[in-house]
């Protein structure tokens, strides 16, 4: 299932990768290795890969959010726009009390994060479709959304590798969207995209910390 979805995303990803030419080899190795090697030989490699990918994703999340808002018109494109009150019931929020997060077991923490990126990948596809409708000429935005979805899937794969080594069972992927998205108005779609790109950033931040925790525990 994951492999199939990653293959589907190869074409838009190639468009985007042409924009980030210098990072292509590194990125490809990060994305493809979990799918080709099967079970990693050690725990350090998948953790490092997942950590590095999350770190790389983290550098681009704010760009994605700003690019997204720029194309949605005022008030989204206004400087300093923020609407924390907007949430999506289909997307779990990344915010969690610190002690609760710290108290989670490694397996549970990975399950939550991986599940979130699974939902994010689906939502990013939805947002990409929405924007192809609303902003068909915004190739930059569309390619960034496609890349973000690819990265989300890549991080899911890396996390699955870590979970496999840790002996954590990988829960089946669930349909986060359901039939609801089709009747959304343009404004709802814009808000939905905003929440998705925002939460993508939050979850990426959390993934970096997750992996840093694992790295400190298992790799160092």
């Amino acid at each position: 299932m994951e492999v199939g979805s990653s293959q589907r995303s190869l074409k838009p990803a190639s468009d985007f990768l042409s924009v980030f030419q210098p990072v292509v080899p590194c990125l490809l190795s990060l994305l493809l290795e979990p799918f080709t090697l099967g079970v990693p030989l050690s725990l350090a490699d998948p953790i490092n890969q997942a950590y590095n990918l999350a770190l790389y994703m983290q550098k681009n999340t704010s760009v994605l959010l700003q690019t997204y808002l720029q194309y949605q018109g005022s008030p989204f494109s206004d400087t300093g726009f923020s609407a924390p009150e907007l949430q999506l019931s289909s997307l779990p929020p990344a915010a969690v009390p610190f002690m609760l997060w710290r108290g989670l077991g490694d397996g549970e923490r990975l399950i939550q994060t991986r599940g979130a990126f699974s939902a994010l990948a689906q939502h990013l596809q939805l947002v990409n479709d929405d924007q192809a409708d609303l902003n068909p000429g915004s190739s930059v935005l569309l390619s960034q959304l496609a890349a973000a979805r690819l990265w989300a899937q890549g991080l899911m794969g890396n996390m699955a590798s870590v979970m496999t080594v840790l002996g954590v069972s990988i829960p089946p992927e669930v349909d986060a969207l359901g039939p609801a998205p089709f009747g959304a108005s343009a404004f709802e779609r814009k808000c939905r995209g905003y929440v998705v790109t925002r939460e993508y950033g939050h979850w990426t931040d959390r993934a970096v910390r997750d992996m840093a925790l694992l790295k400190a525990k298992y790799v160092a």
């Binding site: 949605q72 008030p75 907007l86």
Partner: protein
């Protein structure tokens, strides 16, 4: 009841004009009814106020008022004199069929327990009101997407007579306050049967925002009904409410697409208070529609960005919004053009025109519809190009040539279309021809093949072939070819040049020209060789010894050679024999034939050029020339790049003219090149790339008679003359005391660089090395020039020169191109000895003569001379008049200014016979002005003013003796630092006098108006004006400190130069630094005016 009828009467009178004609009848009826009531009813409390209405004009519904006492009784209603049966009822109203137009008497019999009472009414149609039945059944629907209400109802027209006019009044109300949104009126006509009517209305507020209510009533204007007509009652209110609001909030309208400039209302249905509303970047104040709904109204909406314009309502806890897309309906497609490239498919292209502002699903869709075939093609959104030419491809239909295309553009706001009717065979713009191939037929013709995709079987193609050759330039050939289905075309190309590299390219159009295709790629092709078209251009020259003749020929040009020339065949023959030379390769263009010029036989020499295709026609020339004794050498100068020759037309010249030329300095045989001109020509311009300016060429003009050449003219020529490059070499052959003979040599032809026109000879008297003759300023009077125009002259004698005088000579040659450099020479003429002797002897003789005469005269007049020039002079030292008292000089110690008069024997006249007394008196007079001076000067700076007293030598000695006692205040001279030692100015008295008076001669000092120091300065200024000397600085600006004052010691060097008692004017030391006691320093002839007259020695 009276009032009721009365009022009804009044209203009816005013409201219906149709009834006014029977007003009188009306009034009488009312009065009658009134009277009947008075008579029969009211007095006993029986029914009154009978009121009749009709809803359908068929049945009258009458009712009346009755007193409560009889409410429980029974009424019998009868229409008098009518066939209608009486009606018995307990109610107070009854229905009867509509009666005729006449008055009808209605009798109502009230039957109750207390007894019966009868009352009669007179009823007429005019007393009946037509009140249509209330419209109960109507259909109200809404389209929320467009905020439109749709009302549908049945007019129940089958009940009423047809052609009655009906007025419908519809009221739409909204908001909780039931404000009237709109009031609409419709006019319809009844047609005798039920008809359904429609009405719709679009609200400016989305229907979802607040409930909308609708009610309707109507009025039937039946012309033939004389009763009163009234509006029906309002129908019951119907309302339209929005769909249930999801998630407890909603903003409307959602995703609306509107034209730019629209006015819109957006509302937010939300349970919490709305804090602000924003449309795009602008904030708007909102209006409250009802408890849960607020709205903003936007006027004149501008075009939206791609993702639409956001409308956002903000509450305390959330933000709600919607998006509106504002743009334009599609513009009419512009520049719609349909053409075909291959007669298989038609490409229609157009420009979208004004941008709509819509993208994605709201963008413009195009449908290309062909009316004759009924087929259409849709423009897919994937093919959409922004701001570019759009195009659709329509597959052609077999056998159809005329196409009527309609291009329809549509978007959510509307549609537009453009139409074009084309005969597609006249709109052919073929593909670019490709695969160009050439195949040769012969050296001047080929077949040209190319490929042109398409099915052009039914038309002819017009193709243009561009032919480029290096030497023949560009040529265009248009050909018509029959269109093929196979796409392979070929044409026959002739009239080509052999052995020529051609470049071909092709483009095509239909015969009914529409557009050219693009040019095909170029095809380079070299045609095959052909035989040379003509023989080479030949000439022959005899060797100087006449033993052989050299035959020259020029290589054939490319278009003459028609191939690569491999060799030349040379042959010659006479009447007796024919001989051939061996084949000469192409690299060689001459051949030598051993012939004897003295042999009388004339040979014909023939040259043939050969290439791989064959031999050229032979070129022939005879070996012998026709003699011409009358040959003169002429001169000619060219016109820059060539030389123009003229000759007279000669009918005898049957072949051609030849001009050959060579550089005149080259050795024989003289042949650089030649040119041939037609026999009928009378002139020629000979141009030659290698002609050089300043080079002399020999030209020979030959005429040809019967294949034999005759020399006509021999010409020396320059294409352009230049000035000689060297100077003529000249020498002085002979010189005398008054002439010089100069001789020069010819300048070599190669240095002459033009035809010699003459010489310029310059000569100038002057010292050696000082000549200015090189400037060749002929205008100078001291430079003489001779222009020698006789170029045969080689000598020149210059006469009338001065003996033993140096002369500069310069000789230049000049041509038509200018004056060349000159050679100069310096020559001294020989001495004239006789004149010199005379010049010496005459002055010597004159001098001797004068000396002798003078001696004689002096001797004879010696006494007179002695008396006149050397009289005896008495000794002035013996004169007492020159003895001054010591006190006079001592008194000067109190003086503050310069005092000179007492000490200055300016006016001393030695008269031995006079007594002493007068002399003293005279001294006193002289002294008096001096005593005035110190008084003036003591007021100013007594210390700085040191009196310099000048005394005769005797008095000065006395002062020197008393110097120890009165050093500080006496008028003695103080010696100061002297930086430079001056030699004492001990000039003789005569010399001093000369200095004193300058050019004005001697002036005694007593004549000077010396009264004060300032006056002295003024006097000095005056003297400066009269005398020759002028001080170098402003005398008035000088400090009048005494030169020997202490201040002078401390001052700088310039001032220090005054330290010695010297003249402030001349800076001459008054007392020499050395030899202070020298009597010369106290020369009695010294005067204060010397300050201003003596020139400083430094």
């Amino acid at each position: 009841m009276e009032a009721y009828f009365y009022s009804r009467l009044l209203s009816k009178t005013g409201g219906n004009k149709r009834m006014s004609s029977s007003k009188f009848q009306w009034l009488s009826s009312i009065i009658f009814l009134y009277l009947v009531n008075q008579a029969h009813g009211q007095s006993r409390g029986v029914p009154h106020d009978l009121n009749c209405i009709t809803h359908n004009l068929k049945v009258w519904d009458c009712s009346w008022e009755a007193l409560p006492t009889i409410n429980h009784g029974t009424y019998e209603i009868c229409v008098i004199n009518s066939s209608y049966p009486c009606i018995r009822t307990e109610k107070t109203h009854f229905e009867i069929p509509a009666l005729t137009f006449a008055d009808h008497e209605i009798k109502i019999n009230s039957i109750h327990v207390s007894g019966n009472s009868v009352i009669k009414f007179i009823l007429n149609e005019r007393n009946v009101s037509l009140v249509p039945a209330t419209l109960q059944d109507f259909n109200l629907t809404a389209d929320f997407s467009t905020s439109t209400l749709y009302l549908k109802w049945n007019d129940n027209g089958s009940v009423f007579p047809s052609h009655s006019s009906v007025i419908w009044e519809i009221i739409v109300q909204y908001k909780e306050k039931m404000e009237v949104a709109t009031v609409a009126t419709l006019n319809t006509t009844l047609i005798g049967k039920d008809s359904v009517h429609h009405w719709n209305w679009t609200s400016d507020i989305p229907l979802e925002c607040t409930p909308h209510y609708v009610k309707i009533r109507y009025y039937i204007d039946e012309l033939h009904f004389f009763g009163q007509k009234e509006w029906s009652e309002w129908s019951p209110l119907r309302n339209i409410s929005g769909p249930p609001v999801k998630e407890n909030y909603e903003v409307f309208p959602r995703d609306k697409v509107v034209p730019v400039g629209s006015n819109m209302t957006f509302c937010c249905v939300v349970g919490e208070p709305v804090l602000s509303a924003q449309f795009g970047k602008e904030s708007y104040s909102f209006i409250r529609l009802d408890r849960r709904s607020v709205a903003i109204k936007i006027n004149n909406i501008t075009v939206s960005p791609s993702s639409g314009t956001n409308v956002v309502f903000t509450t305390k806890s959330n933000l709600y919004g919607t998006v509106v897309f504002a743009g334009y309906p599609p513009d009419i497609p512009r520049k719609l053009n349909c053409e075909t490239r291959d007669l298989k498919e038609i490409t229609c292209s157009w420009n979208a025109g004004r941008p709509t502002g819509f993208f994605g699903p709201r963008g413009t869709n195009y449908i290309l519809y062909e009316r004759f075939s009924g087929r259409n093609v849709t423009y897919g959104r994937a093919e959409e190009h922004m701001n570019a030419i759009h195009q659709l491809i329509f597959q052609m239909i077999t056998g159809q040539e005329i196409y009527n295309f309609t291009l329809e553009a549509n978007n959510p706001l509307g549609r537009s279309e453009a139409v074009i009717l084309v005969n597609i065979t006249q709109r052919v713009c073929p593909h670019t021809p490709s695969k160009l191939i050439a195949k040769d037929i012969n050296s001047t013709a080929i077949f040209l093949y190319w490929h042109l995709s398409g099915n052009f079987a039914n038309i002819n193609l017009l193709c243009e072939i561009e032919i480029n050759a290096t030497y023949s330039g560009q040529e265009l050939r248009n050909i018509t070819v029959r269109g093929l289905e196979t796409s392979s075309y070929h044409v026959y190309m002739d009239k080509l040049m052999p052995y020529t590299m051609y470049t071909f390219r092709v483009r095509c159009s239909s015969e009914n020209f529409w557009k050219w295709s693009k040019w095909s790629n170029e095809k380079h092709y070299l045609t095959t060789e052909g035989i040379p078209s003509k023989g080479p251009d030949i000439w022959r020259e005899w060797r100087a010894d006449g033993k052989s003749v050299i035959i020259y020929w020029k290589p054939l040009s490319l278009n003459e050679a028609n191939g690569k020339i491999l060799s030349y065949n040379v042959s010659y023959w006479s009447e007796e024999k024919t001989r051939y030379l061996s084949e000469i390769p192409d690299s060689q263009h001459k051949a030598e034939i051993k012939l004897d010029k003295n042999d009388d036989s004339d040979y014909i020499i023939s040259v043939v050029a050969k290439n791989s295709a064959g031999s050229s026609p032979p070129s022939k020339i005879t070996s012998m020339e026709i003699p011409n004794e009358d040959i003169k050498v002429e001169q000619i100068v060219g016109i820059g790049n060539g030389i123009l020759f003229h000759w007279n037309y000669d009918p005898n010249m049957t072949c051609d003219y030849v001009i050959k030329w060579c550089n005149s300095t080259r050795s024989e045989p003289c042949l650089t090149d030649w040119k041939k001109f037609p026999a009928n020509s009378t002139g020629a311009l000979v141009e030659y790339d290698n002609f050089r300016s300043g080079t002399r060429y020999n030209f020979f003009l030959y005429g040809c008679k019967n294949q034999k050449y005759q020399l006509l003219r021999s010409i020396l020529g320059y294409t352009e003359e230049l000035a000689p490059s060297v100077a003529p070499n000249f020498t002085v052959e002979d010189t005398s005391s008054d002439s010089i003979l100069v001789k020069w040599e010819d300048i070599p032809v190669e240095d002459l660089r033009g035809f010699l026109r003459g010489y310029l000879f310059y000569f100038e008297k002057g010292e050696k090395g000082t000549s200015k003759i090189q400037g060749l300023e002929s205008g100078r009077s001291d430079v003489k020039v001779k222009n020698i125009t006789d170029i045969t002259q080689k000598t020149l004698r210059i006469v009338d020169l001065q003996g033993k005088t140096g002369y500069h000579l310069l000789l230049q040659a000049y041509t038509g191109g200018g004056i060349g450099p000159g050679k100069s020479m310096y020559v001294v003429t020989k001495e004239n000895s006789e004149g010199l002797i005379i010049a010496i002897l005459i002055p010597v003789a004159v001098a001797i003569f004068v000396g002798v005469v003078t001696s004689i005269l002096c001797y004879r007049k010696r006494e007179w001379i002695k008396e006149t020039f050397y009289p005896d002079i008495p000794n002035p030292e013996n004169s007492k008049a020159l003895q001054f008292h010591k006190s006079i000089c001592e008194g000067s110690s109190t003086l503050k200014t310069l005092e000179m008069n007492p000490c200055t024997p300016n006016n001393v006249e030695v008269v031995e016979t006079r007594s002493v007394a007068p002399k003293i008196e005279e001294d006193t007079e002289i002294k008096s002005p001096v005593t005035d001076g110190p008084e003036e000067g003591s007021d100013a700076e007594p210390e700085n003013h040191v009196v310099v007293s000048y005394c005769p030598p005797i008095i000065e000695e006395e002062i020197a003796n008393a110097g120890g006692e009165e050093a500080g205040s006496s008028s003695q001279v103080i010696y100061i630092d002297i930086q430079s030692m001056y030699q004492p100015q001990a000039k003789p008295e005569e010399e001093l006098e000369n200095h004193l008076v300058g050019g004005a001669g001697y002036k005694p000092q007593m004549h000077l108006p010396v009264t004060s120091t300032i006056e002295n300065i003024i006097t000095a200024d005056d003297l400066e004006k009269t005398a020759g000397y002028r001080p170098q600085t402003n005398v008035n600006a000088w400090n009048l400190d005494s030169p020997d004052s202490p201040r002078s010691i401390d001052s700088n060097s310039e001032i220090a130069s005054f330290g010695s008692p010297c003249s402030i004017n001349s800076r001459q030391f008054l007392i020499p630094p050395k030899d202070e006691e020298s009597p010369k320093s106290s020369n009695g002839g010294w005067s204060f005016t010397n300050f201003f007259q003596n020139k400083p020695n430094d």
